[in-house]
Symmetry: C2
Subunit: 319 residues, 2 copies
């Protein structure tokens, strides 16, 4: 009961600014004295409530703290109960069915939490699955996950980009779910590395434990790692003109689109755009599919590459 009330006091002060003990007492149907005690309890708990004595006195949250709270407290509560996609939960072995049991456990928490939880569940849903069944292989995920939780070293057979199988002994720090793809973040030879879980052919949890780096923050590491990866991503830019009839298709596969200039309602006016690919070959393969609806402006030698590919298609099916 009291935890409920403390939380409510915080929320009231956040929303209304300054309130007297008498007002709070009436709102919460307790005595003034109880409110004063609650204020002691909040202070003890580190919540910076302060009092103004005398006329026009009352209680408020320290202004700085309050302005933080105004963007935080209610939203904190909301995000506290915003659950990730059922697919992620499932692949972590935390089935959607667990949601119900968790709700039950949550019922033991002060009522305000519960109300916020329900509101969030009712209004926001996250879904990371694809429209069609993903073929991403997560056979190794259970084993990898076990090692992560138990802080044990892991031997993995890893399929490298060139298709070669390599055995590695790693210290698994965490897992990152990027869309439908799981990455294992681990230490090998004193260096941080990311391994795509679908490329782990086999994983064996070792008995040997390891010391987790003291200041390792998975989310921060991942953002940095991602930034570096993106920096190293090859970029092959192509200037094209697009026939309006395929604009919809371009939006649907927006993956390569960087810039679209001057989209016009004139159904006959070709539209300039910049596309970015990882490699020339990727550009060729993509652009050839647009046939005569996408015209290469630059680089100029890409045209002959596209034509060459088209010729090989024709020869292939001549038989």
């Amino acid at each position: 009961m009291r935890a409920d009330r403390l939380m409510t006091i915080m929320i009231l002060l956040q929303n209304r600014g300054k309130m007297t003990a008498k007002e709070l007492a009436e709102e919460l149907e307790v005595s003034d004295r109880t409110i004063l005690r609650d204020m002691d309890a909040l202070s003890t708990a580190g919540i910076p409530v302060v009092s103004d004595r005398g006329k026009d006195g009352g209680w408020r949250l320290v202004d700085n703290f309050r302005s933080q709270l105004s963007g935080l407290t209610m939203n904190d509560l909301k995000s506290l109960f915003l659950f990730p996609s059922g697919k992620v939960l499932e692949e972590l072995g935390l089935n959607s069915g667990a949601l119900d049991a968790r709700h039950k456990l949550l019922a033991a928490i002060p009522g305000t939490y519960r109300d916020e939880a329900e509101a969030m569940w009712e209004r926001i849903h996250i879904d990371s699955s694809t429209w069609r069944q993903s073929k991403e292989n997560v056979d190794a995920l259970q084993t990898v996950q076990q090692a992560v939780w138990e802080g044990k070293k892991l031997t993995i057979l890893y399929i490298q980009a060139d298709g070669e199988l390599k055995e590695r002994l790693v210290e698994p720090l965490g897992l990152v779910a990027k869309g439908n793809t799981w990455y294992l973040v681990a230490i090998r030879d004193s260096e941080f590395r990311n391994y795509r879980v679908s490329r782990i052919h086999k994983a064996i949890v070792e008995n040997e434990t390891f010391i987790r780096p003291a200041n390792f923050i998975l989310a921060a590491y991942w953002e940095q790692s991602k930034e570096e990866f993106i920096q190293r991503l090859p970029a092959y830019d192509v200037q094209v003109e697009i026939h309006p009839s395929v604009m919809k298709r371009l939006y649907f596969t927006s993956k390569f689109v960087q810039v679209i200039k001057k989209e016009s309602s004139n159904p006959d006016q070709w539209i300039e755009a910049t596309l970015r690919f990882n490699a020339e070959q990727e550009a060729v393969e993509y652009i050839v599919g647009f046939a005569n609806k996408m015209k290469i402006i630059a680089p100029k030698d890409l045209k002959s590459k596209v034509v060459s590919l088209a010729n090989s298609v024709i020869n292939f099916y001549k038989e």
Copy 2:
């Protein structure tokens, strides 16, 4: 204190199987009698603890429940503090910075929760952003979100699939984050509808409120809606043989791959596979990019379509 202890009992039983009241009492530094009372409380709360009397007696969780719990209780706690992607939080106005303040609030919860929260944060990270900047337009999300929270009707200017702008008055029920794409689930004309947020050109929150349907469950509705959408997705299956040199590429764009038969280590043996497309044209455009590395087996008339497209490429660049 007691809530802590109840939770600890559950965890101990889950981890150790059967324990006597005496053992639990010693572990938790309370009397046997208190443990027996706690068991009553757990039963009352719906946790199926059962006792074995007499020699070799003790307390355990119902086997079925325990096996669920082994995937549930600890995992419940874990998933309770598994936070969705920072991108989703950001777009909901719940910035990553809120995480820290939430952690502080969570500190008020029994210590076991806090420990689990830290473990989860340290080991699992979710990231729904793309390697490259997404072009998905979420300008309207703030306004839409506001209406969702406030339970107010919303007027939207919606860009339909054919590009036409339509004005709609809707009752917004919730938001679904599907990968990088937000969908608004709303009622219009007494029917549930999904609107892609990036297609909402403009949104205006009305003053008029609406009655939320009593038994509406967003997650359930979304799963059903998705199922129906997938059922209606056209499926155009193509049997192909793939040269091993492009297998890597196929894995990278696994979107269309349905079945791969007999993958061989023989670098000269073509591999049979089934690809699924939404339309014949999509198949043509995709397969042409593989040139002579992907051979169409069936349907047979697709070959001529691919050749035709290749010809139009060649003619296009003849100038």
